[in-house]
Structures are given as C-alpha cells and as structure tokens.
C-alpha cells in the first residue's frame, strides 16, 4: 500500500503536468482569500506551476483591507482606562496612523486575545465595571460569529459588551476589482469558507457579466492545485463558468441559518477598503435595534487624524496590481518585525507571505 504522502505527491504531480499542458498562454489567476495565499506559499505551490501561470493575491485578508482609521479608533478605545479590548490575534500588531494595539498593550492597555468572539462575553461577565469592546473584523465567514455573539450578549443581559465592526463582503469587492480592470484577472480562486456561508449564487456575475471563470476552492494543497487546474482548463477551452471544487463543505445555498443570524444584527452598508476606497454595499453596519452594542454609537471616542504612510503600496498590492517586491518599502523600511503597511503584518498578508516564504520560489 502506498503512503498518504506518496499519494499526495502523485496527485500533485498529475495536476502539475496537466496545468503545464493546458497553460499555453500566460494567465493571471487571483486567489481572493488570504488563507489561500498562505496555503499556496506554505505548500510551495508556485514552485509546481509553470511560468505561464501567475498567481496574484486579492483583497481577501480582513486585517489588510481594514483602513487605518479603524485601527486608530481601536487604539483610542484601548487608551481609555475603563475599556478592555478583545481581539483575534491577527489585529494585535497592525499599525494604525501612529500606534498599534501591541504598542498600547506595552504601555498598559488591557488587550485580550480571544479565539472566539464568545470568549469576550466571559471577559465582560467577569469585569462588570469595564466596557469590553470586541474588534469585529472579517468576511462573511466571521461576521455571523460576531452577530451570534451580539445575540448571546443580549440573551445574557450583558450591558458592558460592544463590537467595533469592520466586517466586509467579498462579492462587491470582486465586482469593484473587475469594474476597475487594473488587476487583469483571467480567473478567480474563490474563498471556500466564505462560500460555506454565502453559497454559490453571489459569484454568478463573474462569469455572466464579466466572462471570468471562478472556482470555489478548499485549502488543502491538493484542493488548490485542483482548482488551478479547473481554471486553466476553462481558460484553455475559452469557457467561463462558476465551479465548486469544495463541495464537501460548500453546498450550493451555503448556510441560510448563519445568514439569518447575520441579517438580524447587521445590515449592508458602504465600506472603506484600504487601497480600494469606498465600495458600495460592501460592509456591514449594526442595525438600529442593536445600537447599544455598537461601540461607535454607544461609546463615542475621538481618534487621532488618520495618516497613511506615503511610500506604502498596500493599496496596489490588495488590488492585485502591484507585486510586493515592486513596493519601495518592501523588505527595507517594511518588514514583518516592523511593518509599515497592513499587508506586511497579517500572517496572511500578501507582503508578509512573500517575505516569509521568500517570494514563493526557492533559489537554490
């Protein structure tokens, strides 16, 4: 019997061969999701692809697309003596205009890293004299967990729990990218776990309106290779359809129960994306009925004036127009130890991944 590792290598070699055979002209494929970016680097997938297939990262790292102003607001809250900030580890080191939560923590701010938004309710219950603000970032996968946490806080009668919300929606961002046109994308690797919530329908416009193929993809190395293969195959045949490589987790209709929870607490709103600007109906705002959980509404705070670093090209990187190495700061003024732009700080930030994994190709 063959080992699992041998099976993986054999299948990988098969896809590698097929992709090389089918990619007769240069194609640009965008992996929308930052988790895909990391999976691609971690598994060394670029190494297996022919030169003709270029993978570009898209705007799918929630930390990266969160604008400076949000960080500045979070920093301002953290400086209040009566506030505990609860956050996913992702946000801790992201630089705002002049500080970061990690730096505020070093100066004495009470910042707790949580694995689940629900964990922040336990913090709130244990510290009734404090106001606990959960930094609610993330796409359609994560937003329902924040919404459910608001409902749970209401049920528990907690009066010291708030969310500072910067949730984003993926399909409007893809539409904005295609409308702007700068990224010249020939096909999309679509985010499997966002799709687990929203299903297939919201992506249909890619093929129908823009004639760009898309494949909903899982995150194992072989999932990614298979999705690249499916895209290259469509492109070679001159087709553009939406395919679902990740059926084991993504039913066509996604998760309606999760969407119902989301819809109860949040409504669609225009949202600012770092590097892209305001995209209509691409974010989520807390509904009026839950305003008392909405930090900016319930606990107004003055944040510093937002400044963006002049040399930072995160915006172009997030739009898939600029490769990290083309940014003058990359690897020099901006490194994972001292990030200037958000793309360098998040584990799945495009620049961080390029830096950490050596641009994806091993130069031996």
């Amino acid at each position: 019997m063959r080992s699992k590792a041998e099976d993986s290598r054999r299948l990988a070699a098969f896809f590698q061969g097929e992709i090389a055979r089918l990619a007769t002209r240069p194609v640009r494929l965008m992996e929308v999701c930052g988790t895909h970016t990391v999976a691609i680097f971690k598994a060394g997938i670029r190494q297996l692809l022919p030169e003709a297939v270029e993978l570009v990262s898209g705007p799918g790292c929630p930390v990266c697309v969160t604008p400076n102003g949000y960080l500045d607001t979070a920093v301002a809250y953290s400086r209040r003596g009566d506030v505990i900030i609860a956050t996913f580890g992702d946000m801790l080191r992201v630089p705002g205009s002049s500080s970061s939560l990690a730096a505020e923590q070093a100066r004495g701010a009470d910042i707790r890293i949580v694995y689940s938004p629900l964990d922040s309710l336990a913090i709130a219950a244990a510290a009734p004299a404090k106001k606990v603000i959960f930094l609610a970032v993330g796409f359609e996968t994560t937003a329902p967990t924040a919404a459910a946490t608001v409902l749970a806080a209401e049920q528990a009668g907690l009066e010291n729990f708030y969310v500072l919300s910067a949730h984003k929606l993926v399909p409007p961002a893809l539409r904005a990218l295609l409308t702007a046109g700068g990224a010249r994308v020939d096909g999309f690797l679509l985010p499997g776990h966002v799709s687990a919530i929203i299903g297939e329908a919201p992506y249909r416009f890619l093929a129908e309106e823009f004639a760009v193929p898309g494949v909903i993809a899982g995150f194992e190395p072989l999932d990614v290779l298979q999705a690249v293969y499916l895209l290259v195959k469509q492109i070679a045949a001159g087709e553009a359809t939406l395919a679902n490589q990740y059926r084991r987790v993504v039913p066509p209709d996604g998760n309606p129960a999760a969407r119902a929870v989301l819809d109860k607490v949040y409504e669609e709103a225009d949202a600012a994306w770092r590097g892209i600007g305001v995209i209509p109906a691409s974010g989520l705002a807390v509904r009026d009925a839950y305003r008392r959980f909405d930090a900016p509404a319930a606990l107004p705070v003055e944040a510093e004036e937002t400044r963006d670093h002049p040399g930072c090209r995160c915006g172009g990187v997030l739009r898939g127009e600029v490769r990290p190495a083309e940014c003058p700061l990359f690897g020099k003024a901006c490194t994972p130890e001292r990030p200037v732009g958000s793309c360098m700080v998040s584990v799945e930030g495009t620049c961080a991944a390029w830096y950490k994994y050596g641009a994806g190709r091993w130069q031996a």
């Binding site: 061969g17 930052g34 988790t35 799918g60 996968t141 776990h193 998760n255 129960a257």
Partner: protein
C-alpha cells in the same frame, strides 16, 4: 481569510456542543448550525460550527482525484 477545521460533534447540549479533532476537544456554539447532530462532522471557525462537512462528498472528491491521476499512469 478564514481558518476553519473539520471536527466531530461528540456531545450537544442546547446551543453548545463539544467537538473533537484528533482527541483535542473544545466547546463550540451551534447558533449558526442549529440542526447538526452528535456524530456529524462540522467546520469550526472562531468557536462556532459554521457548516456540515459532507463525508460522502469528501470521499467522492478523493475517488475522483484517484481516477483522474490513475489515467496518467
């Protein structure tokens, strides 16, 4: 953008469940996947079960891959 792991529901009380991955267990919320039952495999993200993992489909994917690659040899 979203890490999530498949885990097996081994116990369920109301809207909370205990899930297990390779012997490691954690309590997760079922608010976003109210219909899942003990024994189901679910995808867990940030302390919530967010989707059911279709084992039959997972097996089919694997078979399909085997078949595809088999043609090459």
């Amino acid at each position: 953008m979203c890490l999530a792991v498949p885990a097996k529901i081994i116990d369920r009380q109301d809207m909370m469940a205990t899930v297990e991955v390779s012997g490691v267990t954690r309590r997760v919320s079922m608010m976003l996947l109210p219909d899942a039952k003990v024994g189901d495999y679910v995808l867990v993200h940030a302390g919530f079960a967010i989707q059911t993992v279709d084992e039959e489909e997972a097996r089919r994917t694997l078979e399909l891959l085997e078949e595809l690659a088999g043609h090459e040899e």
